[in-house]
Amino acid sequence: MLSIKDLHASIEETPILNGVHLEVKKGEVHAIMGPNGSGKSTLSSVIAGREEYDVEKGSIDLDGQDILELSPEERAHLGIFLSFQYPVEIPGVSVTNFLKTALNETRKARGQEPMSAKELLRLMREKMELLEMDKSFLSRSLNEGFSGGEKKRNEIFQMALMEPRLAILDETDSGLDIDALRIVANGVNHLRSKENAVVLITHYQRLLEYIKPDFVHVLYKGRIVKSGGSELALELEAKGYDWIKEEVEA
């Protein structure tokens, strides 16, 4: 489904990604781990189409289609969803109005009829229940004044509504309490199917107990330097990154 080859990207002439290769197939869950500053968020932003980054080399294909020339919204319309490490506060735009606009613009781009207010409300109710959210969220300004955990939960709520084919979750587990982690993981598992894929960026093994990855990758200095099965996450949790850094430097 997602095929990244030799991806090099920089921001303001600082190279951040230095040849990333990643193949994600339908139905798979991939975890990406790696020390702070190694380029995990950069990779997810580049996949989602953030224009501040210059892609100098390499390719990103979704189902064989080159997406590098596409705008962020076009990528979203193809079914890419990024849960932000730091969701942005948008004062004055209520969660409802935002979701209504996002869903209907996406439907429009896909040639579907807009959803009626009633349908929309029903759908939002259903997903809020799944994520055990209070409905007072809907009338609040998007992310404004939300606690760290609430912001993350709101991201997964949006994901549940958009039903993306490729979900990239950038440290969605950071800042969640134990119950919230379970609820969010449950939301992600709910979305999983043979047709879609999930990329989890995380620092902790804990999330991976709830959402079992098929592959674990270590990103370091802008490259994937090690890949393995779910046992690699356990090894990292136990040993840290030093041994990997040594391997790379050797």
Binding site: G49, F81, E89, N97, T101, E105
Partner: protein
């Protein structure tokens, strides 16, 4: 035509105007007109050499051979202009077409209070005019003087003691194509006596392609405990210019709220002044400039705290796209006697393009020591992070920008208590941003 020639034309027009007045020429009111004309002739139109007009160049508007008087009457069908009124609610209407009152389109009253015209007041309420006309400004600007010199028509609203106007009053000034390029000088007088209240909405609309320049004055006097809301929708045609002067005088415990929405037209200059004459009065001044293309709006405000224990809150926002330019000049004067003053001012601007610009100038002159005053101004751009966030959720760039701007502007619109007007402003804002949001924010 240049500004000197326009001034000469106005001088000779004044003589014609006087000659038609007959008996009225000797009234005290006309003496005020004549004195104002003399001052205008001395000073002429303001130029960018004037401190108060430093960022605002009137000159391009003074090159047109405007018609000063309109002959004949022009009739309009209500359905042609229906869209310029609030249709979801019942309102009083004072409507002018090419400077002449249209009784056909208006809905005025003398029952309980007077909602009528300046010319009617000249007949029926001369004592009120004698008391208030020309009183609102101790140092009138030359354009204000010019309006005073020719004052003969406009809205007249007088609300007696403890009366509450049961529905909003809409004042709408139309100009039509057959009027040719026209110079309009409406003159409003609003007097709210003790304990009374009213809501007023004013707009100017040029129908047709002709150039217009409107030089308007509103004099407003609020008695003790009186409450006034005064809303302006300024989204006139691209060839229409407006200079507005509004002076609001507040007595004890009075409250005035103005909200000015400048969303179009070639040129807008709002001279808005609040004078606190007695203690415990409060004022709220809100404004939103939402401009693009070559549009221009200058929000020039003065809040004069002359007495103790008054409060003013000023909140202006601006969005400038294309080659639009804006000015915010907010002067707050706290005189030595005005202890325990609260005066707050905030001005936030967004520039959407490299050619867009705003000059913002807070001017706090504080001569009392026991006061709470603050001001803040920001000039920024659209938040790129927020834009990416919205786009990554499938909202196209144009709509994402519009959504952020809509939210930015909505902060001012939310301050309007009148729901029908809020809805209208939301529609106008969506139109201006060229999006089809059906949002109930």
């Amino acid at each position: 035509m240049n500004s000197d020639q326009l001034r000469d034309k106005l001088s000779s027009s004044f003589i014609v105007f006087e000659n038609e007045l007959n008996g009225e020429r000797r009234t005290p009111l006309h003496q005020k007109r004549r004195a104002a004309m003399e001052r205008f002739e001395m000073k002429g139109f303001p130029s960018t050499r004037d401190e108060e007009w430093k960022y605002t160049n009137l000159k391009p508007l003074l090159g047109t051979d405007y018609k000063i008087f309109h002959e004949g009457e022009q009739s309009l069908e209500f359905r042609e202009i229906k869209r310029f009124f609030l249709n979801d609610i019942d309102t009083y209407k004072i409507v002018f077409v090419n400077g002449k009152y249209s009784s056909w389109l208006s809905e005025t009253t003398h029952r309980g209070f007077d909602i009528c015209t300046f010319s009617a007041a000249l007949q029926r309420h001369r004592h009120v005019l004698d008391e208030y006309f020309g009183r609102s400004d101790e140092e009138p600007s030359s354009t204000m003087d010019l309006n005073t010199a020719f004052a003969q028509e406009g809205a007249f609203i007088r609300i007696g003691k403890n009366a509450h106007v049961d529905k909003p009053v809409e004042i709408v000034h139309f100009t039509t194509a057959d009027a040719g390029p026209s110079f309009n000088q409406p003159r409003n007088l609003i007097v709210l006596e003790e304990g009374s209240s009213a809501e007023v909405i004013e707009r100017h609309r040029c129908l047709g392609e002709q150039e217009t320049l409107t030089n308007a004055v509103s004099e407003v006097f609020l008695g003790a405990q009186a409450r006034l809301s005064l809303f302006r929708i300024q989204n006139d045609a691209p060839q229409a210019g407006l200079i507005d002067h509004t002076n609001i005088h507040l007595s004890r415990d009075a409250h005035a709220h103005t909200a000015t929405f400048s969303m179009g037209g070639r040129f807008v200059r709002n001279d808005l002044a609040f004078f606190f004459n007695e203690p415990n009065a409060t004022a709220q001044l809100d404004g939103l400039s939402l401009l693009d293309g070559g549009e221009f709006a200058d929000q020039h405000t003065l809040v004069d705290h002359r007495v103790p224990h008054c409060e003013s809150r000023e909140f202006y926002k601006g969005v400038y796209g294309g080659a639009a330019k804006g000015v915010f000049n907010g002067k707050v004067m706290v005189r030595p006697k005005a202890q325990k003053t609260n005066a707050f001012q905030e001005n936030k601007n967004l520039l959407l393009s490299e050619k867009a610009a705003v000059d913002t100038k807070p001017q706090l002159e504080i001569f009392a020591d026991d006061v709470k005053c603050s001001h803040g101004c920001t000039v920024g751009q659209l938040d790129e992070e927020a834009l990416f966030y919205l786009r990554s959720r499938g909202i196209p760039e144009h709509e994402s920008k519009a959504l952020l701007l809509y939210a930015f502007g909505d902060e001012v619109i939310q301050r309007v208590p009148l729901k029908a007007l809020r809805q209208r402003l939301h529609r106008l804002m969506a139109q201006k941003l060229d999006v089809d949001f059906q949002l109930n924010l």
